[in-house]
């Protein structure tokens, strides 16, 4: 991908704002500046790992709760 300065469809946002967005794929598609793209992809990666960790943690907690409820009716 070519680094084309100033040729962008979106303005740079604060990292804290980016983490709040549901999806930043549209921004990544529209971004032409390599440094900004790198920042966006980093945010996407961090969010992905956080989501996976949360899901795994939720599943484990769910298993323990199911076992506890099962134990109640045994």
């Amino acid at each position: 991908m070519k680094n084309i300065p100033e040729r962008r469809k979106n303005y740079p946002r604060l990292e804290s704002q980016l983490y709040q967005l549901a999806s930043i794929d549209d921004y990544i598609m529209a971004e032409n500046r390599l440094d900004e793209l790198d920042r966006l992809i980093e945010v996407k990666e961090q969010k992905k790992v956080w989501k996976r960790t949360i899901v795994a943690s939720l599943m484990m907690t769910g298993i323990f709760i199911i076992l506890a409820i099962w134990g109640l009716f045994r």
Binding site: Y19, W50, I65, A68, G71, R74
Partner: protein, 562 residues
């Protein structure tokens, strides 16, 4: 560290030990004794919800990836698992009070590790405190049946080693340190890191606990190991619910504070504070005994004396200050820190100092001035035999900037910018200024000076020419020694014609003789001019054009561009 910040850190650590540790031990006891549950299953569920709560509180953000991939995280998790497992085995040999007190041997181990490996020498008061703790531990061990004494001693030592290693791992946990330094103590960033660490622990803990329970349940029932879980323990509703709640409200803040305290007040002090855990557990158990139905049990006289000795000893170690190391005494603490883990920072510091010294002919005062630091800092780095001194993060930026400007980008002989730095300036200037004029200056008959009078004379001429050029072009210009006897001067916002009018004067100044060993040496110069954007819109070719014109002038025998 400011006083207010230090008080806050100590307050939080004290709150953790007196309240959170006490309540956690109380709930552990309730789960095991009142609910007839298994302590390992309780801890397993607590870690799971602990990570969930912290990750939800912190939300998505930086350092998740780093925390999950960091070896520090896994080291912390493994040491925690081993220390937990060993504590359960230890409790199967001694009473819970004795077990809690014996675990304080970790404080002694941490003091020794800090002293031998981290240059954190304990003060006299701390040594006295440590002796009191050892006396208390000896009292307990002597009171134990001789048949199991050796085993208890071995378990206590290994457990303490792993507990101390775990707290040191928290102190030096890289992503956590990043959360502090890069994100300015952001509580959410710190909670996110700790959440990830607990997630790793909970996953390992759950897999290990399930495996043990499975093996225990399908194996020979006569070989069951007391204390280890069986599958039916996972259906103990009361114990699991207790664990889930404790994880969310007790364990999560407790581990966040453990990480914070190990960094802010250091491992030795934090472990010393945990000597209050026995007292706090007893307090919470006695206060809630009517509610929980836990019997307090009776204490042996030796246990009480040991408890008093260990608690007082622990308080001494925690409160009394460690011996100041040479760095603190010399008041260079603001400039340098002892870096035990980040060896790159140590290496970078040494490289900066050594290269700068080499550039300034080992002149310490000049080097210190150029780097913007006291001479004492350079002396301390040179004397640092342990190779642990590094520039403090805040001073490193300043030193790096000074090093770039005064050492890396500078021609050592003349003190002018070197070629790379000049090209960078040239490119930057082409974006800032509308007009630039470049003078390419070559000294005529310089080689015979070197051959006749020697290199010292040649160096004198070069550095003298550089000083004259600096006087001639004081403002809005950049000068470099392009190479050998060639100099370049870039003049901002002045057109070629204006500069050309002054060429005669420039030549006149440069031709003035230099005095060397009672000899007068003089050189003439040939100058080529090129301007941006008039001669070329491409900044890279500007030097080539000026160079070519200088040669034309030199060959024609003229000294100016016209």
């Amino acid at each position: 560290m400011t006083k207010a910040f230090a008080y806050k850190s100590w307050g939080l650590a004290l709150f953790s030990v007196l309240v959170l540790w006490g309540i956690n031990n109380l709930l552990l006891g309730v789960g095991a004794k009142v609910m007839q549950g298994n302590a390992i299953v309780y801890s397993c569920t607590a870690f799971t919800t602990g990570s969930l709560i912290l990750l939800f509180y912190a939300g998505p953000g930086p350092l998740v990836k780093e925390s999950m991939r960091s070896l520090d995280t896994w080291f912390y998790g493994i040491t925690l698992l081993i220390s937990y497992s060993l504590s359960f085995v230890l409790y199967s040999y001694v009473s819970s009070t004795e077990g809690t007190l014996l675990q304080r041997f970790s404080m002694i181990i941490s003091l020794l590790i800090g002293w031998f490996f981290l240059s954190r020498r304990p003060g006299l008061g701390q040594v006295i405190g440590a002796v009191l703790v050892v006396l208390g531990i000896c009292l307990i061990i002597l009171g134990i049946s001789s048949s199991i004494r050796a085993m208890v001693f071995l378990l206590m030592t290994i457990f303490s080693l792993f507990l101390a290693a775990r707290i040191f791992a928290a102190e030096y946990h890289k992503p956590h340190i990043q959360a502090i330094e890069k994100f300015n103590y952001d509580p959410k960033a710190r909670a996110r890191v700790v959440g990830c660490v607990i997630f790793v622990i909970s996953t390992m803990f759950a897999l290990l606990t399930f495996s043990i329970a499975f093996v225990q349940s399908i194996g020979d029932q006569s070989l069951l190991i007391k204390g280890l879980p069986v599958l039916s323990d996972f259906f103990n509703t009361g114990n699991i619910v207790l664990g889930l709640l404790a994880g969310a409200f007790i364990l999560a803040p407790m581990l966040v504070i453990e990480f914070n305290s190990s960094h802010d007040i250091k491992t030795e002090s934090y472990l010393a504070l945990t000597s209050l855990a026995a007292v706090s557990t007893w307090f919470w158990e006695s206060v809630t005994s009517s509610l929980t139905g836990l019997s307090l049990g009776s204490f042996l006289a030796t246990d009480v004396v040991a408890c008093i000795l260990i608690t007082i000893g622990g308080i001494c170690v925690a409160i009394l200050k460690p011996d100041k190391d040479d760095l603190d005494k010399s008041e260079l603490g603001g400039y340098l820190t002892r870096e035990m883990q980040d060896l790159d920072a140590v290496s970078e510091t040494r490289n900066i100092v050594f290269y700068a010294l080499e550039s300034y002919a080992n002149d310490m005062a000049e080097t210190a001035f150029k780097l913007g630091i006291p001479v004492g800092v350079i002396k301390a780095v040179l004397k640092d035999k342990s190779r642990t001194l590094a520039f403090s993060p805040w001073i490193l930026k300043v030193v790096e900037k000074n090093y770039r400007n005064n050492v890396a980008n500078v021609d050592v002989l003349t003190g002018l910018l070197n070629r790379n730095a000049f090209i960078a300036e040239l490119k930057e200037a082409s974006q800032k200024f509308e007009e630039l004029t470049l003078l390419f200056i070559d000294l005529n008959k310089f080689k015979p000076i070197n051959d006749t009078y020697g290199h010292d004379a040649g160096d004198l001429v070069l550095s003298g020419t550089a000083r004259r050029l600096q006087k001639l072009f004081k403002n809005k210009s950049v000068i470099t020694r392009w190479g050998g006897d060639e100099f370049c001067v870039l003049v901002f916002d002045v057109n070629k014609e204006k500069v050309a009018k002054k060429l005669k004067y420039i030549n006149l100044i440069l031709e003035k003789p230099f005095e060397y060993n009672e000899n007068l040496i003089s050189v003439s110069s040939a100058i080529g001019l090129a301007s941006f954007p008039e001669d070329s819109g491409c900044i890279e070719s500007l030097v080539s054009i000026a160079d070519a014109r200088m040669y034309q002038n030199k060959n024609k025998g003229f000294n100016n561009d016209r």
